[in-house]
Amino acid sequence: MARSRKIMRYMLLAVLAVVLTTSGVLRAQDPKIVSSGISMVGGDLETIDPGLAEASSQIEVINQIFVGLTAQDVVTAESGLGLASSYEVSEDGKTFTFTLMDNVPWVRYNAETDAVEEVTDESGAVRYVTADDVKYGMLRSLNPDTASPYSYVLAPYVVGATEYNAGEGSADDVAITVVDATTLEVTQPDAVPFAISIYGLWMARPVPQWTIEENGDAWTEPEFIYTNGPFALKEWAHDESITLVKNPFWPGSTTVPQAKLDEVTLRFLDPGVQFNEYLAGTIDAVQVPVEAIDQVKADATLSAEYVSGGNPCTYYIGFDNTEAPMDNAHLRRAFSFAIDRQSLVDNVTKRDETPAQWFVYPGLQAAPTLETNPDLGVKYDPELAKAELALALEELGLSDVSELPEIPYAYNDSSNHGAIAQAIQQMWTDTLGITVTLSPQDPTTYFSLLSEDAPLVYRAGWCQDYSDANNFDYDVFYSASSQNDTGFVDATYDEIVSKARTESDIDVRRDLYAQAEQILVVDKAAIAPTHWYTLNLLVKPGVERAPSVTGNEAYYLWDKS
């Protein structure tokens, strides 16, 4: 009797346990897992090696798993702290001394235990990320043998780096000095204040030397990789997806806190496929394909889940400033004033873009904005366009537009460039009576054509590498820039953007860039900017996406309820 009562008691306890667990009272919180296709396209991610990355999809993954000295705040676009807990700038503004956090371990995902673990060295001690690791990462990108596609962005901001990168100098002469395990000193040739954000870019991140030396090019595979960021690499199914898992050992910094999500799977799907997956409810966040924008906006459910935000890129029409008849500034201005940018974004691109009045993206550091400089740059003005055309014809000694030679408008035949080209062609016909000849090209052919001899009129775009106006106005249109296809050369412009580069007062800098833009897009009208990009996403309810102005998602700020 006593025995059976005891059994009864155990049974009751067991039932209670089952009820409590299934009802969630005792159950551990559900893991927060998100799947996303944002920034991704079909095919494989070509690399996740910080020294080799070039596409934004690759950089996005790297941002989640490798943290550099500094990190861009995705909301303010300012440079914040990453691996460095603080830094000091020397009086001449050239030497940066970084103090690194001393508690950031290298980690890896262990498939057998299904957990992220700290990496230990031969003696069993945890391997922390040190100043040596950062130095190694920077030097590896600069090493000519690495052939890093983006080393050229870092090189101008480290003494001796340009020579080393070109194969002419030695690694010993590159001014990156390890003072001790947590102190790193970097010296740049000029006193450029925004160099601080360059030192945090992907090609300047710390990388695990021992595994790179042991495993060569395959070190980024899950079985060999070691990372230090808020997420670790769990799985890389080539051509399908990449799965990141929360790294509990990342202590968090003000800009890159600890991840709230437990796992993120990024699926490599073309936008159209992503969209269908989203409709089927099998993916949490996607980019909206160009052809589905109308459908999304018209649908009650989808329009409520639609998110649009800034994307630091500028779309523009380039002119060959050196070849007749486009060497005539009045003619270029006529073309630029005749583009109805608002109509273009409302009726053709339809992605809530902002008509661009100038070249540099307004969200960047020191860039003019529509609030600070509402009247700067170009706006649609058909009367002014016609007046400029009359001046141009007079200068060219022509009595009518029909006497102009054939003007081709070249573009790479992908995305919606064709639709944009047709719309602009029509605007020019309507306002100026000039009908340009559309010349679509295969993208690779097109990009090499631009570098050899730019067509008279062509489409182009530019997205940020780092968040500073210098990345647009200086890096692209400084006369000696390799990205400058227009042939635009202007001594005053060069002088202004050079001065802005080393100026420390941000308001003075903004004013200088406004002056430079006035020359670039109005006085000389070297290009006709058309619109500033947006990001157009769909995010399922319950998934809390962190807003980002950088064009890249910061999954370490995402949450799920």
Binding site: A147, Y152, A280, S448
Partner: protein, 339 residues
């Protein structure tokens, strides 16, 4: 027959060689290079990359070193780093007498310029099997639907069966996969949610792509089978077979069908080669990590080793299946002899 096959295999080597030369010259004459980007890389960086991939050498040297890496076997000692530049398709461990950890390695199809950590052989190893499964499934569907449909239409010529069968076939031929695939995807994946929208791995995810791809080809096979069978049924020897009192079943299966298969087999051979090496449209629409994508992206991205690899692979499959087709002829029609 044995001699014939050996002769054909020798021809294959010559044909592959010619294809490799022509492809190499064609792809190198197209403007743009593998490192042309919208955001231009500095000339110095492009020079470094060209040097890394031996693209700065004279063209003939690039070709010979490429072919040399494929055809000339090498022996390595000790462990080699996983490395895109030293990735061999065949790795045969040698006995200890040849040296410490000696491995005979053969067929290095080179790196892909798009990814430092993968090689063309990785694509063959990882992506080709997926396309092979999909292609095989589609071919089985094509034959399983197409042949019975064609036979039925031929036997019941000018009846409602014929009209229905050929109507279906006409529809199949007229609707390319670029239309049927998204329709299937939207209906079964997005609306009914009974099949996965995209992906690969389980049976469910194979159904829609295999059907989309199989249906178009089923239609082609059905029309071909019908036409061929109708022609054979009018032959004298069929009348003879019937006259000597053979049951209709035997007449059709043994005498008519077997002989009518020759045109079908002629088409199925190259079709097999095309299907199993990957189909760009279906793989893209259903997000399948197969090989089809590489045929297109390698050309648009000027990824030279991948262009060479995919074309040589396709050519190899084509030549081998054509040889199999020729051997099948001899079995189908005893009058065909190759000696």
């Amino acid at each position: 027959m044995g001699q014939y096959i050996v002769r054909r295999l020798l021809w294959m080597v010559l044909v592959l060689f010619l294809i490799s030369v022509v492809t190499f010259l064609l792809m190198r004459s197209v403007p743009g290079g593998p490192f042309a980007r919208e955001k231009r890389l500095p000339e110095a960086t492009v020079a470094l990359l060209n040097k890394k991939y031996n693209l700065d050498a004279p063209l003939w040297q690039q070709y010979t070193s490429y072919i040399g890496d494929i055809v000339i076997p090498t022996v390595t000692y000790g462990k080699i780093k996983p490395n895109a530049a030293e990735n061999y398709l065949l790795n045969v461990p040698l006995p200890a007498m040849f040296g410490d950890e000696a491995v005979l390695r053969w067929a290095n199809f080179g790196p892909t310029f798009k990814s430092r950590s993968r090689s063309v052989n990785d694509i063959f190893r990882e992506n080709l099997p997926i396309s092979f499964q999909l292609g095989l499934a589609a071919l089985i569907i094509a034959l399983a639907i197409g042949m019975p449909l064609g036979i039925l239409s031929a036997l019941k010529r000018n009846t409602i069966y014929d009209y229905l069968g050929m109507g279906t076939a006409l529809m199949g031929v007229s609707f390319p996969v670029i239309i049927t695939a998204p329709i299937l995807q939207y209906f079964f994946g997005v609306q009914l949610k009974i099949l996965p929208v995209s992906g690969w791995g389980d049976i469910q995810s194979m159904i829609m792509p295999a059907l989309a791809l199989g249906f178009v080809n089923a239609a082609i096979i059905a029309r071909l089978t019908r036409a061929s069978l109708l022609q054979i049924l009018g032959e004298d020897y069929i009348r003879t077979a019937r006259a000597k009192g053979l049951p209709e079943r035997v007449v059709i299966i043994i005498h008519a069908l077997k002989n009518s298969l020759i045109p079908v087999v002629t088409v199925v051979g190259p079709l097999f080669a095309a299907l199993v090496t990957g189909t760009f449209v279906v793989e893209t629409i259903f997000g399948i990590p197969g090989m089809g994508r590489f045929f297109v992206t390698s050309i648009t991205g000027r990824d030279y080793p991948v262009i060479m690899g995919t074309i040589l692979l396709y050519a190899f499959f084509l030549i081998v299946t054509n040889l199999l087709v020729d051997i099948t002829y001899a079995w189908l029609d005893p009058r065909i002899r190759y000696d």
